[in-house]
């Protein structure tokens, strides 16, 4: 129990392994091995060390460990827009899945300042974080450089479709098919003038959903005439604005497929404000199945994303990439069409 090295005894020092070692009368090597449960430590010693650790109020220093192991057990999640419930809803599952794998998550919101994400790519390159989960199609320029340079990094993308860049593993649904299913459903209900509220024109997700709409219309012998396409965005405000534009058109559509639930919320609110009934006057469908969609008036027909699966598979892939470089092909998960009153012929 004699002191080996002079350990300073300031009142409020953070306890280190050396403190535990001193209390237990062993070396730090032994403490480390005992706490990690490694082989040649007899039960009796292990107990004593555990007791000493508790007594000292010891907890490992994450940075010392990460520095030594060159692995931090931290992954970064880049989120484009937390205001869209889609992201927190996914984040719940990401958080859970990561926790179950022993990873902590750092988040960075890229809505205001997309350039911010470049800094985190540097963190990845510097070995400060183990992996990055992109929950949107936006890809930091610095990352593109690395991919172009043929570097192989632990990065997974999810929730949005793959743009035509390879080199980043993706976990996603078939967005075109999902949009197709919604429009197909509307067409089968007998709607003829099926409009589409398009998302941001350059957003890959929006492009895919539009493509699904066009495809389904074509397959049903309906036309995707320009007056049936309304340029909008992914927010409620833009959905509201779109309602005004629709009313200004010569002929109203009889159904509208919105590129996401949020714009559908805004659209429906505005249409109702103008005295139109949903679905009697105009049927509406969305995309995402946010939790509110089930209880709104009327309940909204939409596409349910397999958020939990997406999160779990993404984390699983990321873990694989971090730990052994394998498992880097894309995954397509099944979506589900949720049919509710907003799209049903009365």
């Amino acid at each position: 129990m004699a002191k080996r090295k002079p350990i300073p005894t300031n009142e409020s020092r953070i306890p280190t392994m050396a403190d535990v070692a001193r209390i237990a009368g062993v070396s730090t090597s032994t403490v480390s091995r005992a706490l990690a449960g490694l082989p040649p430590i007899p039960e009796e010693t292990r107990q004593r060390i555990a007791q000493a650790a508790k007594e000292a109020g010891y907890a490992v220093n994450r940075h010392a460990r990460s520095l030594r192991l060159k692995r931090s057990k931290v992954i970064l999640v880049l989120i484009p827009n937390l205001a869209n419930p889609n992201f927190p809803d996914l984040l719940i599952h990401i958080d859970r899945a990561a926790y179950d794998c022993g990873y902590d998550i750092m988040i960075a919101h890229t809505a205001i300042d997309p350039g911010r994400s470049d800094r985190y790519v540097d963190e990845l390159l510097a070995g400060s974080i183990d992996g990055v989960l992109l929950t949107a199609s936006y890809c930091p320029p610095r990352l593109l450089e690395c991919i172009a340079a043929g570097r192989h990094l632990p990065i997974v993308r999810t929730l949005s479709p793959t743009p035509d860049l390879t080199g980043i593993t993706a976990v996603q649904i078939d967005e075109v098919k999902a949009a197709y299913d919604v429009v197909d459903h509307l067409a089968k209900q007998g709607y003829k003038r099926i409009a589409h509220l398009g998302g941001p024109p350059k957003e890959i997700m929006a492009i895919a959903r539009r493509k699904g709409w066009e495809k389904a219309l074509a397959d049903h012998g309906l036309s995707a005439s320009p007056d049936l396409y309304i340029q909008s965005g992914f927010t409620m405000i833009e959905g509201q604005r779109a309602a005004d534009e629709i009313r200004s058109r010569s002929e109203l559509p009889d159904a509208i497929f919105c590129s996401n639930d949020e714009s559908a919320y805004g659209l429906i609110a505005a249409l109702k404000g103008h005295g139109l009934r949903i679905p009697q006057d105009i049927a509406v469908a969305g995309f995402d199945d946010l939790s509110f969609s089930a209880v709104m008036d009327p309940p909204l027909t939409t596409v349910r994303l397999p958020r939990r699966d997406m999160a779990e598979r993404s984390i699983q892939k990321l873990k694989a990439l971090i730990e052994d470089d394998a498992d880097n092909d894309n995954t397509i998960l099944a979506h589900e069409l949720i049919i509710r009153a907003s799209s049903l012929r009365s």
Copy 2:
């Protein structure tokens, strides 16, 4: 430019300061000082080092730095329930404010496993993270022990009212007063039977809002009779359930103050489903002012939380606590009553 130390040249090593130093022909001390912009480095050398850093693709290793400085520039945000938009909406501003101060944020969702938060208190105690922001009234047991032991830790609580424990700085609104304002508004509209949809009975936030309701009723000479209190929760589902219970009561209330917007959403959806009109048959008000509340049908009267202020002040306080131990008294911020159609006498 001669090599000083044998630096291994594996193809894909992560560049370190030593690499930069070698390229620039200086020592790591100089690199460190140059990159940090510290005094005695002439511009010419600084340039050369910056160039070398870029050439090497260098970025500092967060863990090495944190270990040395005993400061990580990471704060942890504990979030009870990401499914309630209140939290992501606050998180947006927390993320932003933290970023502006040079902090990164880690998040931990405590909905499923509250015991999880204890681990993060250990991280704080071990010096692995710099501070903790609690966005709910739940307080990890381990933390209570520390406070009881008189330890002074960088922790700030926000978004929920303070329970009767001192020792943790809080940034919040006057929940009782805010609830009072809502009910006061309803009473001034002429409503007489003003019911309250209470949140989880042991939740401090729910208790405060109930208290505000009772106080306002008393001040208006109205009674808070037991049949006007409906036990519910903070979710849409529970709001829906509450609607059924209300209809089973002998006499309907003419106004209902819900303990949050989400339960109001569920309640309104269910009441409308039963053919009741809002506000003609029953007025409804909520609490939180989630973004959806402005566009729903009818738009919901509610209390707007100063989320941005809360986030900024919280981070500011946390920063102060981390950096110099000062600024540890509570802050009460102003709320705002948002009056919309759901509570207006027609």
